[in-house]
């Protein structure tokens, strides 16, 4: 079976500080994985490397068997076709409504997208479809960010600290929603977090140590 995400002997340093050294990771389809570690352990860097936003100093990163290309434009293409990202700060476009945010993501992905309305319905956001991000509650904004990440049916769904700012109830809700969305849209979920509460939802855990 070809892994959705493969990282082999990845070495990455920035400003003279070693962040990842000879790091290996293989995530297979439906093998949802938790990257657990404290702040400064390189979780976000690891997600950026997986998404092709950063390139390793050495080692190999591959998405669905395809190594990340050296050219930035080709990396952008590979990411657009295969990866959805839920950012820690959500990053919804403030000038657009919820529906418009999702439609823009769908159009930019260049892939046949899910109809936006049923997706919002499934995440309990149908009644907020015309709201702008600043009008959403934290929980609604979190769900909106998940909806935007899965609207293009990504092979790999990356989530950066999706629950760290939430109370137990909402953290539980978001974790379930991520897993449900990933399952419904055929995505493999990789979550980078320091939130140990997520352990009970995801069996595959990779622990990162502070650099």
């Amino acid at each position: 079976m070809i892994p959705v995400l493969s990282m082999e002997a990845v070495h990455f340093a920035r400003s003279g500080r070693l962040i990842l050294s000879a790091f290996n990771l293989q995530v297979f389809p439906a093998g949802h994985t938790l990257l657990l570690g404290p702040s400064g352990s390189g979780k976000t860097t690891l997600l950026n490397l997986a998404a092709g936003l950063l390139t390793p100093d050495s080692g190999r990163v591959a998405i669905a068997g395809t190594p990340l290309p050296a050219s930035a434009a080709e990396r952008d293409g590979l990411r657009r076709a295969n990866i959805g990202i839920v950012f820690q700060t959500l990053r919804l476009v403030s000038a657009l409504t919820l529906t418009e945010n999702l439609e823009l993501a769908a159009r930019l992905s260049g892939k046949p997208a899910y109809a936006v309305a049923p997706l919002l319905e499934s995440l309990g956001l149908a009644h907020r479809s015309d709201a702008r991000p600043r009008e959403l509650s934290q929980g609604e904004a979190q769900r909106a960010a998940i909806a935007r990440a899965v609207v293009s049916r990504p092979l790999l769904l990356l989530a950066d600290e999706p629950t760290s700012a939430l109370d137990d109830v909402n953290a539980e809700l978001v974790a379930r929603m991520l897993l449900k969305s990933a399952a419904e849209h055929g995505s493999t979920l990789v979550i980078a977090t320091h939130d140990a509460r997520l352990r009970r939802h995801i069996g595959e855990v990779v622990t990162l140590e502070a650099a």
Partner: protein, 449 residues
Amino acid sequence: MMLPLAIAYLKDRGLVTAFNIALIALGVASLAVLLLVSTQLEKRFERDSQGIDLVVGAKGSPLQLILSSVYHIDTPTGNIPAESLGLLRRDPFVARAIPLALGDNFRGARIVGTEAGFLGIHNAIIAQGAMFSTVGTAIIGASAARETGLTIGQRFAGTHGLGDDGHTHDNVPFTVTGILKPTGTVTDRLILTSVESVWAMHGIEAPGEPGAPGAPGSGAKIPEDHARHEHKSHDHGGQDPKGHAHEGHDHAGHDHGEKVLDRRDALAPEITAILVTYRNAMAAVRLPAAINRQTALQAASPAAETARLLGLFGAALDGARLFSWLVALTGALSVFVVLLSAANAREGDMALLRVMGATRSQAAGTVLLEGLIIAAVGAVLGLAAAHGLLALGAALFPTLAAVGVGPALFHPGEIGIAAAVLGLGVVAALIPAARVYRTDLAETLGRAT
């Protein structure tokens, strides 16, 4: 794909966008108004003076002579003896000499005593009815007909002077015999009659000198009922804006200081000016100099005086044009500041667009589009405002309409103004767009997280 996003960003900061658009529109409107007014004035002056090489009239300001006799927008410099016309017509350098007798109006439309040759100068032809023939008949220009409401067969009495506050010549009414086709020249807003009619209206008898108006074979016949009439108390409003009353005194024996007909103390027939067409190029050298040497007459060239006027006007226009460009530049600068600030504020958005699949060019293009949209909307609104302002100005100020200023048609130069302003919009957006283009995704996203 990025157009809806650019529009959404503009709407999101609606007040600032509206302010930017208003600044650009203000600059464009000023530039377009200046372009349209200067072009319309030049064209109007050119059309109105076509076929007139020289104007001969009383001594005074040559520009005033041209403005009053060619463009009919000022008061005349005075009168000249009617026999001057005969002298000029006998001059070998003169191909055509058309007399003008001014001094009255009807509801603001000037009544001009002249001859059929006047129509030839402006290529005017009669649309309805017939040419004036006997004394007391008149034809009217197309706009004058519209504005005064006069129709063929209708009788009207001229008002003395060139304003509305003169006395009315009730005892010598005119009858409309014809209406002219629109010509786009000054003729459109005039009422034309014979010189003899104007004399009759002022109680002056036509001379018998061959070649002079009123002489046998020269023009209209004077019926008995148009013989000299009594001037009782009246107000000469046209020449002196304030006018002056003549109640209870005799006109003879004192100087009114007037510049037009209606001087009972000088009942010798006079005309106001003569429009001259040269017979050959040599005439331009010889004739004006010869006339100006005579003490009583002045010769002025419409081409020279109009060029002088437009030169003076042009300097003011250049200043106004410079100011308008400064306003447009201020608008562009404002767009630059707003877009630069927006590009900084939403670098996270732009990085996100890139992560979601937008190319560098698409992300930067969003900012460029915003600059372009502001400039385009500002340009369109500015051009529309310019035409609207001219329409309003022409409606509110008759003098503007009189010199041919109006909403008119689209001028090709307006495309140039719009293109220049669009260019300014793009230039203003270039630096902010370049910042977006160079955004480092991981650094930007990492900084915010």
